[in-house]
Structure formats: structure tokens, C-alpha cells
Symmetry: C2
């Protein structure tokens, strides 16, 4: 039975897509079968794998609105055990179109029921908002992974996100758990960054992943080559960190 | 007659709020009367000025839904010629509540008609999405300022934004102009950053502000003190750059 993990944070630019692309690659390189769903109209995770959808291709929008099944929409990638459901710009419209629809928060959950046991991991990259598309992801998943930049505005946004999570748990998805908080773009030379990291660890304890993702230029270069950093520059600090995160998420031993 | 400038980019984390807070401060310190409207449910620009709204305080949500006038909602700040209309979390709900409302994209424009000539500049900080709240900002403004991080994913998002702008120009706001593209978090040592900056200047020419905002830790520290960098550390490279941007936006001579 696949674990569905939503990668969520309404704060923008904290590393959601970078985590979705590189964690999915790390899990696939580790031998696990993975489905990555790009639920962001920006289509970043789709382009992070070098995929460009045409108007005819089934997308996440079609899966949520029920026009295509996840199996139709899942595309192969350069990694044998990874498939990707790409996003398209019409997801912007979904936020409005879903308002009047029956079971509007449960559409993705219903759609994913047909593929849950074909993958060990299903990851969902979310847009920087708490709208109906993100609510669909929070209603479909078993747990959520929260990338967190060690910055003041990012820390401020955490309370709103955790409140939304408990609302979803009460009404739409009672078993929703927190997979963990992931510190991203960490730079130990920066005092504010160190302080925020200490605050988060002091407050969330073992809910914070032991793996910390450093700021590493290879992570921001790799999408322009349509490759995860684990394939673009496997020895880079960014790629190594996401490899370690994949082992931690999969429950395998990580190096201390 | 005040110039209304929306600070927009659906790509997250590109420096919209940092620009809204520090450009409004720069204009106010330059002697101009300024109104800053925080239209993002994350309330970052509100907290960037050390403002915390209580449930009783009128907010941007109330102004858009017509429950309060901009004059009721505008609060004083530590800068004499700057007022701020703060955001609150209920803006998240506005994206859904506005769907069924008459003239749903023009609400903010209608509300601002009452205060336009009381300020020389009205700045609107937008959320990282192209939903109904951002559409309200695009329909209200004379021009838009697009902060752009020199990164691959940020560049990709530009096409979608410019297409939305031309749609808004055709149907809702015929005079909508581009104030300019602002390069943010610029780090000349980073090859990708230099390449993206060259691409953008090569493509958009004089639509790119001459002022470039460097990556500068003081800009990310100042919000934790509830102050713009121009007051927190006026001699810092980040504060000086935003001072220069304010002169450029106001049409005053800038240093070469
Ligand atoms: N550890 C890192 N080191 C250096 N750059 C990074 C790192 N993680 C992400 N980036 C870069 O920072 C920017 C923001 O990251 P990303 O787009 O993954 O965030 P996001 O949360 O998905 O953004 P959005 O809210 O727009 O969806 C991107 O340009 C990305 O390449
Ligand atoms: N020039 C800069 N140098 C260093 N840090 C910066 C700079 N500009 C912004 N930051 C920091 O980068 C992060 C993202 O900036 P900011 O929050 O202003 O972006 P945004 O576009 O408003 O994000 P969102 O899409 O979530 O609204 C913040 O933590 C901010 O403090
Ligand atoms: Mg993203
Ligand atoms: Mg912002």
C-alpha cells in the first residue's frame, strides 16, 4: 500500500518543488516505485523532469476533475521506477471551477484510490497557497512533508499551515499525520538561519528531519537541464543531502 | 492623483513582500505620501511593519468585500507619510467567497477610488498565485512591478504572468502597464544568476529597472524587528538598493 506524502507550505519559494523532484529521484534510485504528482499550475516539478505537456496530454487537472485516470496521466521518466503526472496551466482555473463541485476536496483522493497500491510512494508537489487544490492534496495524503526555509517570514507562516492541517484532520482526513519538517537552504554561516533552525528543533523535536538540506547552487542549476540534482551532479552536497533524506523517509539507516 | 502599483509574481519567494515593505519605506523617506496594501493572507508585509491586527481591526479582506473603506482600514506607521492596510488570514477565504460575487474582480478598484488622490503612491503586495485577490490587484492598478529572482524556475513563470497581464488588459483594465521587472537576490558570483539576469535584460530591455537588489542578509533580518531595512540598517547594501529603487520609481535621478 503506497504512502501518499503531500509536500506543502503556503509560504512561497521554500523548496517544495526542489524537494518533490529530488526526494522522488532519491527514492526511485533507492529501488522504490514512486509516483510524483505536480499539483502546481506553475508546472515546476514537471519541467524539473524535462517534461512539457501538450494540450492533448492528460494532466493533474484532468485527474482532479475526473476527465482522466492517474494511470492514463502517469508518464515514464529517465528513472525506471518513477512516473510523473504533469501539471498544466489550467490548474489555475481549478481553484474556481471546483468551488461548485460535489465533494470538491475529495476529488484527488477518490482518483488516487485506483493507483495507491501500484506505488510504494506517491508524492504531491503543492502550490504556495491553501486553496482547493492544496486541500485536495491534504485530503488525499497519509502525511505531509513541510519544507521550511530558515527565514523569519517562513517561520511566521507555519502557524497558519498547522491550523489548516488540524482543520483538515477534523473534517476531511482524520488520519493525516506530519511526516516531518525539512530545513532547506540551510547556511550555517548566517546567524538568523542558525537561530530559526534552533527554534524549529526546540519546538518540533523529532518531527524535524535529521537530514538538513544545505544551500547548494547545483540544486538550482539542475532544473534548467530537466534533471534532478541526483542525476545532474550526484556528488554535490545538495544531491547527497536529498539522497540521505530519501533513506530517512524510507526508514532506512542514515549516516550520522 | 496617486499611482497604484501592484507587486506581483505568482512564483513564490521572489521578494514581493521585501520589495513592498522597502520600496514603500524608500518612497516615504523620500517625502512621498504612500499607502501600502497587504493583499496576502500570509500577512508578511503587515508583520514587516510590526503590525498585528486583532479580529476587530478592519483589514484588506474587509475593504475588498466592502465591509470597510480604505480610510477606515489604513493605519499609521513609524513613517509619517506612510499608511498600511493590514492583511488577515480570512483573505484565504476571499478566493472562494468572491467566486459568486458581482463584479468580483473590480471590488478593490471600486474601493480604492475613494482614496486614490490622497496618496502619491499606492502599493499592493500580492500573494504567490493568480487567483481572485491578485486579479483584484491587477484590475485596480495603473502598473505592475514584477520582482524576479535570477533563478530558472522564476524565469519559467514569467510567461504565464505576462499572459495573465494581457488577459486583464483586454477585459478588465485596458491601461494596465508594466512598471518594470526588478532583479532581486542578485549574486554576481553565481553563474546561473548572471545568465538569467543577462537573459532578462536582453529580452525586456528598458523594462528592467536599472536598480538591482543584491542578496543581503539585512533584508531578511529586518522583518523580525518589525522594521523595513531602511530603518533597521540604513547603510546596508539592501537598504541602499531599495532607496535607489524608490528614486527610480519616483522618476528622480539615480546614481550611476
Ligand atoms: N537547497 C537549495 N539551495 C539552493 N537553491 C535552492 C535550494 N532549494 C531550492 N532552491 C532554489 O530556490 C528557488 C525556490 O525553490 P522552489 O522553487 O523549489 O521552492 P517552492 O517552495 O517550490 O516555490 P513555490 O512556492 O513557487 O512553489 C528555486 O529557484 C530553487 O532552484
Ligand atoms: N535581497 C534579498 N536578500 C536576502 N534575502 C532576501 C532578499 N529579498 C528577500 N529575501 C528573503 O527571502 C525570502 C523570500 O522573500 P519574500 O518573502 O519577500 O518573497 P515573496 O515573493 O513575498 O514570497 P511569497 O511568494 O511567499 O509572498 C524572505 O525570507 C526574505 O526575507
Ligand atoms: Mg514549487
Ligand atoms: Mg510575500
Amino acid at each position: 500500500m503506497g504512502r501518499v506524502i503531500a509536500i506543502v507550505n503556503q509560504k512561497g519559494g521554500v523548496g517544495k518543488t526542489t524537494t518533490a523532484v529530488n526526494l522522488s529521484a532519491g527514492l526511485a534510485l533507492g529501488g522504490h516505485s514512486v509516483l510524483l504528482i505536480d499539483a502546481d499550475a506553475q508546472c515546476s516539478a514537471t519541467s524539473g523532469y524535462g517534461i512539457r505537456l501538450t494540450g492533448e496530454d492528460p494532466s493533474t487537472y484532468d485527474v482532479i476533475l475526473g476527465n482522466a485516470t492517474p494511470s492514463d496521466a502517469a508518464r515514464t521518466t529517465m528513472l525506471p521506477s518513477l512516473r510523473v503526472i504533469g501539471a498544466s496551466r489550467d490548474l489555475v482555473g481549478a481553484e474556481i471551477e471546483l468551488v461548485g463541485v460535489e465533494q470538491r476536496e475529495r476529488r484527488l483522493r477518490q482518483a488516487l484510490a485506483t493507483v495507491r497500491d501500484q506505488y510504494e510512494f506517491i508524492l504531491i508537489d503543492c502550490p504556495p497557497s491553501l486553496g482547493l487544490v492544496t486541500l485536495n492534496a491534504l485530503t488525499s495524503c497519509d502525511s505531509l512533508l513541510i519544507p521550511l526555509q530558515c527565514e523569519y517570514y517562513a517561520l511566521e507562516g507555519l502557524t497558519a499551515l498547522l491550523e489548516t492541517v488540524s482543520l483538515v484532520r477534523d473534517s476531511l482526513n482524520p488520519d493525516l499525520a506530519i511526516e516531518g519538517l525539512l530545513l532547506t537552504m540551510y547556511d550555517g554561516r548566517n546567524t538568523l538561519c542558525r537561530q530559526v533552525a534552533e527554534d524549529v528543533k526546540g519546538h518540533f523535536h523529532d518531527k524535524v528531519f535529521r537530514t538538513v538540506i544545505p544551500r547548494n547552487v547545483r540544486l538550482s542549476e539542475s532544473p534548467s537541464h530537466g534533471l534532478p540534482a541526483l542525476l545532474y551532479d550526484p556528488a554535490s552536497r545538495g544531491a547527497l543531502a536529498y539522497g540521505e533524506l530519501a533513506r530517512e523517509v524510507a526508514g532506512e539507516a542514515i549516516d550520522d
